[in-house]
Subunit: 125 residues, 2 copies
């Protein structure tokens, strides 16, 4: 599949998640899909488990897609994950094969206070 | 420019950074390049300032590129930033225009302890 089709897969992934349409969501995933969260060293293996992981996520959450980059084999989304008054940034790397999502690697960067900088060119906004 | 050329720009960006070849690094940047770090709400504006920001970064650092995704207008790299025994993950979003880097948005996700999970499908690795 080409870049545009992979972009469409990522759009569908979040659309079905927001709609809680778990059959449609699951149909985008390879049977052996691997989901990884490097920051916590957690993973979920397989379509059924990964659907369950999302289906049982607590709260009335909603995802807003801010950016998608996709090429002939991979893709990335930058999202806002909104739940219970929280507004988190998620960065989601996708690997595709034969039109299905084979691997997802999620990062959840958090705000922190900047260190002292070596140069004066940095502004705060 | 196409996806392959944009991938090449990201490869050159990190190659020149690792080589401390600041003229070659700067030549990849648009004059009005904008660098943003959303986690600390910091930014650096303009080619000269952004080269300075990188040139003065402390330590004998080195970048290992783990993954690049690029399309006809944007790109992303996942890197390891190695310095003083530290091994950090960086996620770098690039926006291109006319063959130059117009905008860079960096995220630096850190390890954290996982919360209690609602489902039993999550493994620790």
């Amino acid at each position: 599949m080409n870049a545009a089709a992979h972009r469409g897969l990522i759009e569908a992934f979040w659309r079905h998640a927001n709609a809680r349409d778990w059959p449609a969501f699951g149909a985008l995933l390879a049977p052996g899909v691997l989901y990884e969260m490097p920051q916590t060293r957690e993973r979920v293996r397989g379509r059924q488990s990964y659907v369950e992981f999302n289906r049982t996520w607590p709260g009335d959450w909603r995802v807003v897609v801010e950016r998608i980059v996709a090429d002939a084999s991979q893709g990335v989304s930058e999202i806002r994950f909104l739940v219970d008054g929280q507004d988190m940034t998620g960065l989601n790397f996708f690997v595709f094969e034969a039109g299905l999502i084979q691997r997802i690697t999620d990062y959840w960067p958090e705000a922190y206070e900047p260190p002292a900088r070596m140069s004066t060119v940095v502004e705060r906004c």
